[in-house]
Symmetry: C2
Subunit: 153 residues, 2 copies
């Protein structure tokens, strides 16, 4: 039930960039030194963020990275999903497999709804906070956002 370093590093990087002056490209060396993350390793995580247009990059002299959008336009959830692949706590509730593929008896499995709800709760929380929120230290989310269907959880 752990978030891997990929997702954690990615999030820290995005937050770091969000704090930098708007439109300024920050070199990977600076990010890694400040955050204490292996440059070679972060270098390996970044392409995912670039490919999804979360970051824009310039190469060459004075090159680096910056956020492609406003910090308030990223949810933490999408950043993590981008690097982790999924936020589902078990394979069989993963949207990628259409809710099956992993096991062929999800319908009868009494524990399946537990994981589905858990997945929902996790996603709702992480999708409700933005990179800007993290910068601002705001983590309390309105219950209305989390429970917009009005059906309890």
């Amino acid at each position: 039930m752990k978030v891997s370093t990929r997702g954690r590093y990615a999030l820290r990087m995005m937050v770091y960039l969000a704090k930098a002056p708007k439109d300024e490209f920050i070199s990977l060396s600076e990010i890694c030194e400040s955050e204490g993350i292996s440059k070679k390793y972060l270098e390996q995580i970044i392409p995912f963020l670039v490919r999804k247009k979360f970051l824009s990059a310039t190469r060459g002299f004075r090159g680096g990275y910056r956020l492609a959008r406003d910090p308030s336009a990223y949810s933490v959830g999408e950043v993590l999903r981008c690097t982790e692949g999924t936020l589902a706590p078990v394979k069989c509730v993963d949207a990628h497999c259409g809710g099956r593929a992993a096991c062929d008896h999800c319908d009868e499995c009494p524990t399946h709804p537990v994981w589905r709800k858990l997945s929902e709760i996790v996603s709702r929380y992480l999708d409700a906070i933005t990179i800007q929120d993290v910068v601002d230290g705001k983590f309390d989310v309105d219950q209305e956002i989390l429970f917009e269907d009005g059906s309890g959880i």
Copy 2:
């Protein structure tokens, strides 16, 4: 961000036992056949549940396992914590390390509160549903239970 088979198997086993006639000892063979789980593997997970008095066991002829308490007296959270070790999504919010040990700069880390809140949310949900709830197919939890501090999340 995955729950391992240890936790999933343990939960399924507990639910299976909860459905069995009260006070009847069920052999591991029966459980494994019904649930389609490797006997040798589940045999390895069980000691944790026995040690924590979640299950009681009898050895020898006609031996087996049964729940030590009423199904409504177990939360899903404690079962998972027992087998998974922790439900914390990152080391640095793990209660075992007292909130540090993993990293030495949790105080300044802007992402730390995200993980702490996430951990809280996950725990609150899983601690609010019982094995009996799983048997009954009840997974909707009152918002009051999840947000008992009245402070949003």
